[in-house]
Symmetry: C2
Subunit: 336 residues, 2 copies
Amino acid sequence: MQNSYAIGIDVGGTNTDIGLVRDDSKIVSRSSIPTGNYSLLEPYVADIMEQISAMVAQGDPEKGVKSIGLNELTGIGIGAPNGNFYTGCVEWAPNLTIKGLLNFEEEFHKYVSIPVVLSNDANAAAYGEYVYGGAKWMDHFIMITLGTGVGSGIVVDGRLVHGSTGTAGELGHNILIPDGRRCSCGRKGCLEAYTSARGIVQTYTELRKEKGVPAEAAHMAGWIAPAIEDKDITCKMIGDAANAGDPLAVETYRKVGEWLGLACANACTFSAPQAIFLMGGPTKVGDPLLIPLKESFEANLLNIYKGKCEIRMSQLAANEVAILGAAALIRLKTTK
Amino acid sequence: MQNSYAIGIDVGGTNTDIGLVRDDSKIVSRSSIPTGNYSLLEPYVADIMEQISAMVAQGDPEKGVKSIGLNELTGIGIGAPNGNFYTGCVEWAPNLTIKGLLNFEEEFHKYVSIPVVLSNDANAAAYGEYVYGGAKWMDHFIMITLGTGVGSGIVVDGRLVHGSTGTAGELGHNILIPDGRRCSCGRKGCLEAYTSARGIVQTYTELRKEKGVPAEAAHMAGWIAPAIEDKDITCKMIGDAANAGDPLAVETYRKVGEWLGLACANACTFSAPQAIFLMGGPTKVGDPLLIPLKESFEANLLNIYKGKCEIRMSQLAANEVAILGAAALIRLKTTK
């Protein structure tokens, strides 16, 4: 039997990952371009198409396929921030350097005549978890993705919630702390402002200043070099420091866990999911985040949901689930 | 053609309304018993059954039906706080004087052999709005009910969201203000603590004390008699005072509107509904609530949802939609 192939594209604020996916869910080849370098859709899609053309030209050596025609692909599935399933457009995504209403579907159709399906990047991740990962047997679950931003994909009765607009499932912009920290979306107090990579760095530097610890003395565990300025501190550095016992980094993740646990408890009042899955860079720190998160979740959970919803890590690698989920979205095309 | 009849029951924290509903959605007769007088399920259901027996014995004079047999009814539909669609039980409802896990379905089946369907009271209201009211043509909407408590019913893709537990859609227990006001559920900061009838009274008395206004001088519009103690002030009095221009009452509803508007904006990040409907006693005040509510909603709404979701009042009378919605729930029986 001959295999079929699709393209899965994960549009992140920092990088865009592109994968050629075989129908047995194997990523045959993959590539990446820096999203942040683009301010216009046309050259961005042109460069993605260049990557795709190179991939299909190489074919699938493992299966003895020498090359694949662009229009022989099953389709192109795209997970993108503020991606609208119904319109095929990305709508004013705060975390992208390419601004405005971006018609991805139309732009890709300048190059190919195959189906192009777009959804929220977190919806794609949720769908990937549903098809390939830990949510295979669940009818009700939520995926929360932490990264440059905070996204979510919500599955109710076995179906992705797209809502009346096609852009449902933006729990990262649920206002967690009224009149709180400024968010990238322009409003205040969103979950994203507290639990995205940049929110975590902000919490760390705020805590340090609050405690009057000079930057040079703060990084006692040695994970963050004394000479590094606040602006150059990354979420990964803080995570490593937390795992090495640095008190400021531990306290940072304790606060992040408390906020995220509250947000997860609030999400249960909506759809009473069987599980809330987490994925993305900031979750890789492990226990310094997960222990306070689970404590806060239990403490803030309405009693009728206690013992009925679990916090779980995605069972697929963060970069793999996004590409696979995006490619899987093509199956939804018929319900459009 | 002969008509068929069903019973719709709306279990409120204060009163339980019971209606005999004809299949053309006419409430043939109705009755009420005070829920708060009961601490056990058995006598409560026995008294409801007494009311039902009296109603069916009277038949439907308008249609020349002299009496209806109990087991000739299509079914009994019940909307109750924390009502679980899957199990037929009310589960530890904080606003009921009857505590614990209450198997309504089983208890009613001691008297009748017809279908008994239970759901959240707010789910029943949402379903009533969907079948008979302003949401007839909407696939995505939310109903928020204000009363002794605050409930919600969520419709996604034309279906009530019951979640994995059967008890989804409890936006009244979404934590709006972390570590905020104590709620009846034992936690802090829930929407219900701020926008239920008792939350509104609490805001009024807090504002009065905050401003150092003695109780006797506060009620300048004359709607709240000077001699009335804080504990005897009702939400209705404050509503009337607000409409008469009493500054404290106006400010109370402004704050309530701001909180509810924020909660509605947050709900949009979940399911991107076409509309959020409101019903219940505290909403009857009108503009003093609705104007600040809509302002707050717009101010707190994520830009991608702007202009795409409306705040609307239920198109059915609060007490009618609940009975009709409860009776309509019987149709869901087959999907159980």
